[in-house]
Symmetry: C2
Subunit: 328 residues, 2 copies
């Protein structure tokens, strides 16, 4: 009997989940739920069932874990608690400051329904959070740094697209090599945002637009670009499509710490990701934790959990004995 | 009330635990247990209590977690099950092929005594095992590689020291750059042991010894060196003491995998350690998991566990709510 999965929301992340489920022999996709007209949704695989989001409760009892693939801004804060009362759920909620509140909301709903909700699953938050926890507990006298990229920031790309005269844009977040080297050398530097990352923008402007004004507006945009060294390169729509159509990302969490009587010995723990597709990797993490949600529910656990609270064996398709034999 | 720790066995690892406990404000060291005459043992800190190993059971009820710091060859297979009946225990048992048997022995003893035993804690087995599990569950269609070093292999250094004419020696295991690059590029290479690591030996020979014979004996030693590209450098005792007295180590676990409909997108997950002191880092991991043993016991869990079975929050001094707030 396979773990029956539902996908709620069908964009890049939902497609990633649809593909990832096929890589896990112990799972099957029951249906994709969408707010669009199901007949108009083109799925990756022709045999994927598409149902209206409004009818989701009719599938109660027929889906073991619902993977939510909506956005953190407006979708997940509403959808995850709503669905957690009826299904075990997994989401990738990533608005850092709101995670404690989201946790409480999902916890209450999941307990009311006797379900498990796992929130903020992905790589950051997610695997990076786990890397920070593990290294921090092992090296309490130390400092952790997170570098993102090289990779595409969707939020920054969108911000550029909203500027008058811009037709399209792609923004890459790039870690500064010198900062990385200083951290790895155990120098425990104090780094400003400018010293940690640069921002590289590739912009398609409308014909005849004032390029100097666009560049200035980008570089001076508060929060998004003003605090960074930003480069702006104008390209044609063809070049953007050809060279910048992917959604790669990645990054690294580095913790350095000292041990011994006088802290004489230095240690560097580094966890890094290099991802061709940000949404597909996030989807793969969601699918692995859907397995955990299923198993925790089978053990009568209820309420909210995060990747920090879940024993690693729960996300593997192998048994604990097999894992001991092959991985330890 | 602090977590009361005992150290059973007092070599490099035991000293590392003694130092690491001071970095964790929620813990205190009750005593070091040794088979030597306690009066002859010089501890890192003058106020450390040293007791005879034979009297360990007299401390039952006065120690929350016993951290075993003996060797995997003969000490731990006997000591961990023996002590697990009376104390919560943590060890760093690392004889891969014997871990399932050791697990069974510790599980039986810990259950009989109503205790928790956490075995094979450290970095490999330990954090590297965890890295393999996580990346493997997330990227099921992929391949994992482990590279060790650059670092000192105690076993290989000992093997050289047993050769006639050798006064002292230090052996470094070094990963091959080309192999690392191929793995990171996602080429999924099939690598022989020779292609993955080289072995660099620094040897102090007795005056007048036949250096060519020693070098030949090293390079042709089965299992230890014959399958590797090995370099032998003869040095003076002074140079060995000056340049090769440390016990650095480290390594990395790299998993590459593919996602998407046709596996078009490649991902690289890498977990790496660069350690100035192998025993002190291992000790720091042991101490963090001692916290988990204490908490699991408080929840009336009994039996054997490994790092794979333990929810990450258990090893942190912070509460789950604090961790959600600061790490997610």
């Amino acid at each position: 009997m396979k773990i029956r999965i539902g996908i709620f929301g069908y964009g890049n992340l939902g497609r990633g989940v649809e593909a990832a489920i096929r890589q896990n022999k112990d799972m099957e996709l029951v249906a994709v739920f969408t707010r669009r007209a199901p007949a108009l949704v083109k799925t990756l695989f022709p045999d994927t069932t598409v149902l209206p989001a409004d009818d989701v409760l009719e599938m109660k009892g027929k889906i073991d874990v619902m993977i939510l693939c909506g956005g953190s801004a407006t979708d997940l804060p509403v959808q995850t608690p709503m669905l957690a009362e009826h299904f075990n759920v997994v989401d990738s909620f990533d608005t850092h400051a709101c995670i404690p509140q989201h946790y409480e909301n999902v916890d209450r709903a999941a307990k009311a329904g006797g379900r498990v909700g796992i929130i903020s699953v992905g790589w950051d938050p997610g695997m990076f959070s786990l890397a920070r926890l593990l290294a921090g507990a092992i090296l309490p006298e130390g400092e952790a740094y997170t570098f993102w990229g090289p990779g595409v920031s969707q939020g920054h790309s969108d911000a550029i697209r909203r500027i008058d005269g811009v037709l399209d844009a792609k923004q890459y977040t790039v870690p500064v090599d010198a900062a990385l080297a200083a951290v790895r050398a155990g120098e425990v530097p104090q780094l400003t945002v400018r010293e940690k990352h640069t921002r590289e923008c590739f912009v398609v402007a409308r014909e005849g637009a004032d390029l100097a004004r666009i560049e200035k507006e980008i570089k001076e945009m508060p929060n998004y670009f003003a605090d960074y060294d930003t480069t702006v390169t104008f390209v044609s729509a063809e070049e953007l499509a050809e060279k910048h159509s992917g959604i790669p990302h990645g990054g690294r969490v580095i913790r350095t710490g000292r041990t011994g009587v006088d802290g004489t010995h230095r240690h560097v723990v580094e966890y890094s990701l290099k991802l061709d597709s940000n949404p597909e990797f996030t989807a793969s993490v969601l699918v692995a934790y859907a397995r955990a949600a299923y198993r925790l529910h089978a053990e009568h656990v209820t309420g909210c959990r995060t990747v920090l609270d879940i024993a690693p064996t729960y996300i593997s398709a192998n048994t604990p004995a097999e894992l001991r034999e092959s991985l330890l």
